[in-house]
Amino acid sequence: MRDAGTLIGLIVILAVFGALVPGFFAERNLINILQQSSINACLALGMTLVIISGGIDLSVGPTAALSAVISASMLVAGVAFPLAIAAGFAIGLACGLLNGVLVAHVGLQPFIVTLGTLSTYRALALIYTGGNPVLGLPAGFRAIFNGSLFGLPLAVIIVAVVALIAWIILKKTPFGEYLLAVGGNEEAAYIAGVPIARTKIAAYMISGLLAALAAQILIGRLGAAEPILGNLWELDAIAAAAIGGASLMGGKGSVVGTILGAVILGTMRNGLTLMNVQSFYQLLATGLIILAAMLIDRVTRGRG
């Protein structure tokens, strides 16, 4: 199995924290880890599809913020939940669409396009709210994303479903094949009749949609939507995808790996907090663990 390396990495990290932190393996804590990984996992799934298509999406955080503040202000204004949520999703799709069009039709570099929209979307969110958080989300809305099912937080279940869908997309649908082909050899994919532009645009739109979903989960949990929400999310999402085996050169990536990557990062943060590691050392541990996870992956997966 291709994701064995990532799995081993996760097991090692779990074992280390299990040994160092009493109560680490308590059911409650494991659920915490999943819940805390869920938002990053959600973003990282979209990121994985974009990375496979040979791109990158640095604008996920601001996309989430824009979607969050617009949904939230509609909710506060009394708009019906489904409509407000749909508007948030539409914003996510629109942000992804713009990224995708600039990459696929205009032919700009993905890194730079999304670096530009990173600032642009953030600015729009700030301007729209005047920099203030949107508070007072209706309890009913919060309940949607805050509930739990079979003892698992709903957020975790939603993201699990998303992961399943992403897995199906990648493994079982033409679109998945197209993503892998476009990222693997764009010229050949073109000759073989793959709709290059549509495939890329769809990847960015999914990434935007999942950023919007992450935003809904988050504002449900926090009860407020801030225009500065999602700062540096892109780095966590990229790290999760890369730890999970995605190659930033395109054409390669795995849904299972990405989920494992997100859980590795979540576990680490949880474990370090429980150990009350001082903030400078947490930062150090974060850096070292990203490197270590890549090394383990490298060793178990072998060259290429």
Binding site: G131, P133, A224, P227, T273, N276, V277, F280
Partner: protein, 329 residues
């Protein structure tokens, strides 16, 4: 600037309380025609700094001085802030009010402004060692006040946790240190966790969840700002512990007041940014008028809880603070 000792705004002897300005230096003086002031602060993404700008504007309007207020794009943007400040110097403002990102990133401004003969007032937070004038509160005191609340209201002591701001940022270091040192003095309280929240609501929420799960008997949180505190409040509610765990923030943003009134956030340390802005501009303009003021003008802060929230918000806040100052609190 070499002759000035590096400033420590918390301990500097050459200081005056804001409430004494008028008493000691008289009514607001007449200014040269065409006086205009330039101000730069950390970032407008935080309500605190927007309120400070509001204070500048309020006072500027009152005395008929135009104020240009700018801010960097994010809290970490040190060079961007320097660029802005340099722009203000070249544009020929008569006085500069700066709230630097760090203790040193606006250092070159001090020299350029001196060369251009423009007074500079360092307003709050990070402290430029060479600053000749500082207006602001005592960062460390934020944490101290919260610690004192715990000592007074939770006489039996217990476990408390701190959620810090960005690693290495002055305000974060000082507030954390003030709280930690004060609360552990009596030996009754134990700081079981002091973890980074990076000024971020979500990070703080997750950190609080983990801490609560490990220490269900925790009695309180202290967060280095209000955004993080509001995230912690949600985590406490989600854990069903809102009656047992007290949560404090810092800054006194409007959302914090709302949450305090709603009985969710236990309290915050308000440092009255609008008032601070007014005092800072007043100080700056008095300098322009040629007055010689002490190096530090101290601005007020107060621990806000449900009991006194109304007293410190709304139109009477200034009066309340003057009363506080009069009793020497």
């Amino acid at each position: 600037a070499a002759d000035l000792a590096p400033l420590n705004s918390d301990t500097e002897k050459d200081r005056i309380d804001w409430s004494q300005l008028e008493a000691k230096f008289g009514a607001f003086p007449k200014l040269p025609d065409g006086t205009k002031a330039g101000a730069v602060s950390k970032t407008l993404t935080n309500e605190y700094w927007r309120s400070l700008g509001e204070g500048y504007k309020v006072f500027g309007d009152r005395v008929g001085v135009p104020v240009v207020y700018q801010a960097a794009q994010s809290e970490g943007d040190q060079l961007g802030q320097l660029t802005i400040a340099e722009g203000l110097v070249t544009q020929g403002y008569n006085v500069l009010l700066v709230s630097p990102q760090t203790d040193s990133n606006l250092q070159p401004i001090m020299e350029q402004a001196k060369a251009a003969n423009v007074p500079v007032v360092n307003v709050n937070d990070a402290v430029i060692p060479q600053a000749e004038h500082y207006v602001g509160n005592v960062q460390r005191d934020n944490g101290v006040r919260v610690a004192k609340w715990f000592i007074k209201n939770r006489p039996n002591g217990g476990k408390v946790a701190i959620v810090e701001g960005q690693a290495g940022v002055y305000a974060s270091v000082q507030r954390t240190d003030g709280f930690k040192t004060t609360i552990t003095e009596g030996g009754k309280f134990e700081v079981v966790a002091s973890v980074p929240g990076n000024w971020d609501r979500q990070t703080s929420y997750d950190a609080a969840t983990n801490i609560l799960q490990q220490h269900p008997d925790l009695i309180g949180f202290y967060a280095n700002n209000d955004g993080m505190a509001l995230g912690i409040v949600e985590a406490v509610k989600a854990a069903g512990l809102q009656d047992k765990v007290a949560v404090f923030g810092t800054d006194g943003i409007s959302d914090a007041y709302a949450s305090i009134r709603a009985g969710e956030l236990t309290g915050t340390v308000d440092s009255f940014p609008v008032l601070t802005g007014e005092v800072a501009l007043e100080t700056a303009l008095r300098l322009v008028a040629g007055q010689k003021l002490p190096r530090v003008v101290a601005t007020p802060q107060a621990l806000i809880t449900k009991d006194n929230a109304d007293r410190y918000s709304g139109p009477d806040a200034r009066k309340a603070l003057l009363e506080d100052a009069a009793v020497g609190q």
